[in-house]
């Protein structure tokens, strides 16, 4: 087994039993997933024992390690690190920040997800131009964006999804996202609900998550995750783009308000369930 698993096992034995604890923040992503599978028997959650076996050695950990370094390194024309970036819980506070996104930010007057917030901090705090590859390149394990996202999201592993809904903008975006989720359109008449509205539905060999089952939906939205078939760590925005592509809807612009509305809705749908970060998917 990996060094990390060995250490976790030792501390579990020392504490008595990891099984007895309901504090998911002490658990590795695969342990959280195992617990959810035990409690629910969900076909979606349990569809790949092979992927679960790979999780302790998730390549996303290496990507996140590079992200940790990038985060604290002074960069860009202004030569500052991202430690001054406010992700919603104060500058540089990463613990629990990801599960409270998307949220409204006073300084921009917008509801923002992790990706748009990173773009904001990289361009304003660090002075990068929007077209600089560091900012522009959003996909692939080799991108700064995925390294940073993997690192930041991991700091919320095991925490309950809890996007704020106090500000009128947060509610407006979430509700618009719900309309978009159910809106049938395109040459195939697909909405998100077509595939994600019923438990146990399967496209070819892949079991789909049901948005109405929070214990399924928490895994569905646990990004960044290593896509085994892509051999890359992928983001939430990447997943949105991929879905719309298969739905034969028009291409969505990364970080656009429509994408944020959708992400707001789908994060709210997993409220209360433990995030599995980083995840590993097919």
């Amino acid at each position: 087994m990996s060094v990390r698993t060995y250490v976790l096992l030792l501390s579990a034995l020392a504490l008595g039993s990891a099984q007895a604890s309901s504090d998911f923040t002490d658990m590795a992503p695969e342990e959280i997933l195992e617990r959810l599978i035990e409690d629910s028997g969900s076909a979606y959650l349990g569809q790949s024992p092979q992927n679960r076996q790979m999780m302790p050695d998730n390549p996303a950990y290496w990507v996140a390690e590079e992200g940790e370094e990038l985060f604290s390194t002074p960069r860009g024309p202004k030569n500052v690190s991202l430690e001054g970036c406010d992700f919603g819980k104060g500058p540089g506070v990463l613990e629990g920040a990801y599960v409270e996104l998307p949220r409204y930010f006073e300084d921009t007057g917008k509801v923002m997800d992790l990706e748009t917030r990173l773009v904001h901090c990289m361009t304003t705090l660090q002075g990068f131009d929007k077209k600089d590859p560091a900012v522009k390149k959003r996909h692939g394990s080799g991108s700064d964006m995925m390294k940073l996202q993997a690192y930041i999201a991991m700091q919320s592993n095991g925490m309950a999804w809890n996007p704020p809904m106090d500000h009128p903008m947060e509610k407006a975006m979430r509700d618009a996202g719900e309309e978009i989720f159910y809106r049938r359109a395109g040459p195939m008449d697909f909405s998100c609900q077509t595939c994600h509205g019923t438990t146990g539905q399967r496209i070819r060999a892949s079991v789909l998550p049901n948005i109405n089952e929070p214990h399924e939906w928490t895994k569905a939205i646990s990004w960044p995750a290593e896509r085994a078939g892509h051999q890359n760590v992928r983001s939430t925005q990447h997943r949105v783009r991929g879905c719309l592509w298969q739905m034969r809807h028009p291409g969505i612009v990364a970080g656009s308000d429509a994408s944020i509305a959708l992400i707001s809705y789908w994060t709210d749908a997993a409220r209360g369930q433990p995030a599995i970060l980083p995840d590993l998917k097919r």
Binding site: G109, E179, R184, W245, H249, P250, G251
Partner: protein
């Protein structure tokens, strides 16, 4: 001359403000919190530069048309996957029946071997970061039937729709069955109002010839579906 100048500059002002309206952030000129959720959804889809609406699409025109809902989509959206009420169902089915166009000379079964490939292929009509080039598909864009249906047992199909294994074996090959099968593929709403199944013929995803091949895959006794 003066009148012309005024017209040109006010036109320029219109264009400028239209451009600004689509690039200003929320709250600067459009208050998201003052709209209903439906209004905001439509606004986000069409007026905020959130989608690549100007991108050319395989069926001609631009991607924007794909987001504009027709009557069937608007009606069925309300039910969120649940069965519509009887009145809506009747209306949707009637509208669907009116779209069905039968081939010149009547329905004819095609080649089940081509139908097999079309049923398996999920290629076609995707746009955005990667556009499917239909000139690359020997038999045209696929019907992607296996995505949702189990058909022959040599390949894995989905379960969003009912299993079609043994479709022809169970039903035979009568004219009535052929018409029924054609109707479901062409526009499934004619029989199942607000179904999740795409309107393969009516939406132009599959040609009449392609439907004939897929029908053969379903109905031909020699097809693996019926073995």
């Amino acid at each position: 001359m003066k009148k012309l100048t005024l017209t040109v500059s006010s036109f320029a002002a219109m264009v400028l403000s239209a451009t600004m309206a689509t690039t200003t952030h929320a709250g600067n000129d459009v208050d998201y919190t003052k709209m209903s959720s439906k209004e905001l959804a439509e606004h986000l889809l069409f007026n905020t530069g959130s989608f690549k609406l100007d991108q050319p699409v395989q069926e001609g025109g631009t991607a924007k048309a794909r987001l504009v809902q027709d009557e069937t989509q608007k009606l069925c959206t309300e039910f969120r996957g649940q069965r519509p009420d009887a009145d809506t169902a009747a209306k949707v089915s009637q509208m669907a029946r009116e779209t069905i166009k039968y081939p010149e000379g009547g329905i004819k079964l095609g080649d089940w071997k081509i139908g097999r490939e079309l049923a398996w292929s999920g290629f076609g009509y995707r746009v955005g970061h990667k556009n499917d080039d239909h000139s690359k598909a020997a038999n045209g864009p696929g019907g992607n039937c296996y995505n949702c249906h189990q058909l022959a047992t040599d390949r894995t199909g989905g379960n969003l729709g009912p299993s079609l294994t043994g479709y022809g074996k169970l039903r035979g090959n009568s004219e009535a069955i052929q018409k029924y099968t054609y109707d479901v593929i062409y526009n499934a709403h004619s029989l199942f109002a607000c179904t999740n199944m795409p309107r393969m013929g009516a939406s132009g995803v599959l040609s009449q010839e392609q439907i004939g091949h897929i029908m053969a895959y379903l109905l031909d006794p020699e097809s693996p579906v019926n073995k």
